[in-house]
């Protein structure tokens, strides 16, 4: 009985997910060490920033001692980790509120933007990629590949500004900045999703082209299935693995890329918070923000890997 349970596919899957979650610990330790080290060696004294440039030297020194800034590097790092494990990322140097609270307040907006960006990218990229692949070298295929090339090449910030010019100032369709309604969400998510859409289009096309040459597609046609069923049922599911990989990576890229887009559209997300924090040497917020984005990206990657198993039974068999 026990043997049966340990051999069952569901059990193996859970065990795999558990192991992957354990692996997050070294990953997060690595990320925290990197970001702590960088902030530690960045010029600028937090005590001085807190008290202002003109504060007396004695007061600054007293605060340094109080904050533990005179302790050796590893003592400080250990304290940071120990506090972070309890959910305490320190207090923001500018607002004096806990950094974790500041970040959590901004996190939903960033997730919303990244998720909408990915959604836009998937909804545009996958259908165009499929049609391009089924009509290779057609006018449609050529046009969409040119557009995809433009899409990946166009810088985010430039596209954002151009969209504001066209849709907010000339056409007055959407608000140029701000947060709250669906109308506010459209331009930022299009801006952030364009290059991902282009990448996903190209990946879908090449993956589909690879798959439709396979013998089992010929088998499906030989059964008398219509081309639509052959493509959607037999080809797409096989083509999906590399596409899902790219989508997962794009999501991470969007989390990071959100920094620029959030700045252009005054989007109240983690990215903009971090830009401000870096400018003001608000190191608890920067450290916490990097940790948060890294953790989100790792979890998304794990989800992608779990998704593989549902797409391809051969991969599921390998998860032990």
């Amino acid at each position: 009985m026990l043997w049966y349970i340990t051999q069952s596919k569901v059990y193996r899957m859970h065990r795999y997910i558990f192991r992957r979650l354990l692996l997050l610990i070294p990953v997060m330790l690595g990320v925290s060490f990197l970001v702590f080290t960088i902030m530690f060696f960045t010029p600028g004294d937090p005590a001085k920033i807190l008290l202002g440039e003109r504060a007396p030297e004695a007061e600054v020194q007293a605060l340094r001692t109080q904050m533990g800034l005179d302790d050796p590097f590893f003592v400080q790092y250990g304290r940071f980790i120990f506090n972070a494990l309890r959910g305490d990322l320190g207090r923001s140097l500018t607002t004096r509120r806990p950094a974790a609270l500041e970040l959590f307040a901004r996190f939903p907006a960033t997730m919303q933007l990244a998720a909408m960006g990915v959604l836009v990218a998937v909804l545009i990229g996958i259908p165009i990629g499929i049609v391009s692949a089924t009509r290779q070298y057609s006018v449609f295929d050529g046009a969409s590949m040119v557009l995809a090339l433009i899409g990946v090449s166009m810088p985010n910030f430039w596209q954002g500004i151009m969209m504001v010019l066209l849709f907010s100032i000339v056409l007055r369709w959407f608000p140029s900045s701000g947060y709250g309604t669906f109308a506010h969400l459209i331009m930022p998510s299009l801006t952030i999703g364009t290059s991902s859409a282009a990448t996903i289009t190209r990946m879908t096309r090449s993956s589909m082209l690879e798959v439709v040459r396979q013998d089992y597609i010929r088998t499906a046609r030989a059964k008398g299935l219509s081309e639509r069923v052959v493509i959607t049922r037999h080809a797409l599911k096989n083509a999906l693995i590399p596409i899902v990989t790219v989508i997962g990576l794009q999501f991470g890229y969007l989390l990071g890329g959100a920094v620029l887009t959030e700045t252009i559209f005054s989007w109240p997300g983690v990215g903009r918070l971090m830009v401000d924090a870096i400018r003001q040497r608000d190191y608890p917020v920067v450290q916490g923000g990097v940790l948060m984005l890294a953790l989100t990206f790792s979890v998304v990657n794990l989800l992608v890997d779990v998704l593989y198993a549902y797409i391809d039974p051969r991969i599921k068999a390998q998860y032990k």
């Binding site: 010929r218 088998t219 499906a220 030989a222 008398g224 299935l225 599911k237």
Partner: protein, 333 residues
């Protein structure tokens, strides 16, 4: 009812490649009678698979193109049918078993579903009935029905080929095209699969076009044989006649390449040379550069199919009386 189920006339299929136009099938004529198994024999590149795909109207296009010819199936020219009508024939009245069982099943769908799918498409059955039938078909080919929910990678090559056979026979087709069904399998498994195909074929009364390069398989399974060389049939006869009395120099060459248990020959005599480059087929008789009997005329004139006896046709000028037969079979040193 017509006695001839499949009648291929003057079929010509080409592929456009970077090296030039490849004539894969050239003026092929073939007939398959109802209930019979016809072996289509030839080397790799002789155009056997292209012939099969032409019948299914599945020649990949581009680069392939059926240029001329007619493919009559049950009296109707498949080339003139509309796409929807062809789909209705595929998998239903004509189905196909492919060469490589490792790659011809979809890796992300269960084998049960892949069989069920064809049944659902062509027969008015509910999903439950189709599922039932799919499991019955699996049982019929010797796979426990409980494995219907497994994926192709969980089966061995021989079992996958059985799944392929179950899939092909699930709609009880009139014609089964088997494209080298045993080539990719171990010798011991080959025999099992051949035996299974023979048993099911007689059970279902299916006619079969068996494509192979293995004359042993032909002797086992076929009623008649067509020998193909460089895109065309060079000799057709019933199996016994062809095996006892091969006429075309190429056919004789094929038999000369098989070791025999009864005769004590110091060396096999393989056919000299290699298959011609399909972008530059020789003029006249395509086999003349490799033919031990070839004379000057063979490079100039294209031979015509001649009936040497009832039901035995040969595409060689020896039998048109234009080339002396004497040199055939002589050893060249």
């Amino acid at each position: 009812m017509n006695d001839v189920l499949l009648d291929i006339r003057d079929l010509r299929v080409t592929y456009t490649t970077e090296e030039g136009l490849v004539v894969a099938v050239d003026d092929l004529n073939l007939q398959l009678r109802r209930g019979e198994t016809l072996g289509l024999v030839g080397e790799t590149g002789a155009g056997k698979t292209t012939t099969a795909l032409s019948i299914m109207q599945l020649v990949p296009s581009p680069p392939g193109r059926i240029e001329t010819g007619e493919i009559f199936f049950d009296g109707e020219d498949l080339r003139r049918k509309r796409l929807e009508d062809i789909r209705n024939v595929r998998g239903n009245r004509i189905s196909m078993i492919f060469q490589d069982p490792m790659t011809s099943l979809n890796p992300v769908l269960t084998v049960g579903f892949q069989i069920e799918e064809a049944i659902m498409l062509h027969q008015r059955l509910s999903q439950r009935q189709a599922g039932r039938k799919a499991r019955d078909m699996l049982k019929l080919v010797g796979i426990p029905e409980g494995r219907a929910g497994d994926y192709p990678h969980e089966f061995s090559g021989g079992m996958r080929q059985r799944v392929g056979i179950a899939m092909a026979l699930s709609c009880n087709p009139e014609l089964l095209i088997a494209d080298e069904p045993t080539t990719a399998l171990d010798v011991t498994i080959q025999a099992q699969v051949l035996e299974l195909m023979r048993r099911l074929r007689s059970e279902f009364g299916t006619s079969m076009l068996l494509i192979t390069h293995d004359l042993g398989v032909v002797a086992e399974a076929c009623d008649s044989v067509a020998i193909m060389y460089a895109g065309a049939a060079v000799e057709t006869a019933d199996t016994e006649r062809l095996f006892t009395n091969p006429r075309h120099p190429y056919t004789r060459g094929l038999f000369g390449s098989i070791p025999s248990l009864d005769e004590d020959v110091p060396r096999l005599s393989p056919i000299k040379g290699i298959m011609p480059d399909p972008t530059e087929l020789p003029t006249g008789c395509r086999f003349h550069p490799r033919c031990p009997a070839a004379t000057g005329i063979c490079a100039e004139r294209t031979p015509v199919m001649v009936a040497v006896e009832e039901g035995h046709e040969v595409d060689c000028m020896i039998y048109e009386g234009l080339v002396p037969e004497a040199r055939i079979g002589e050893k060249e040193d």
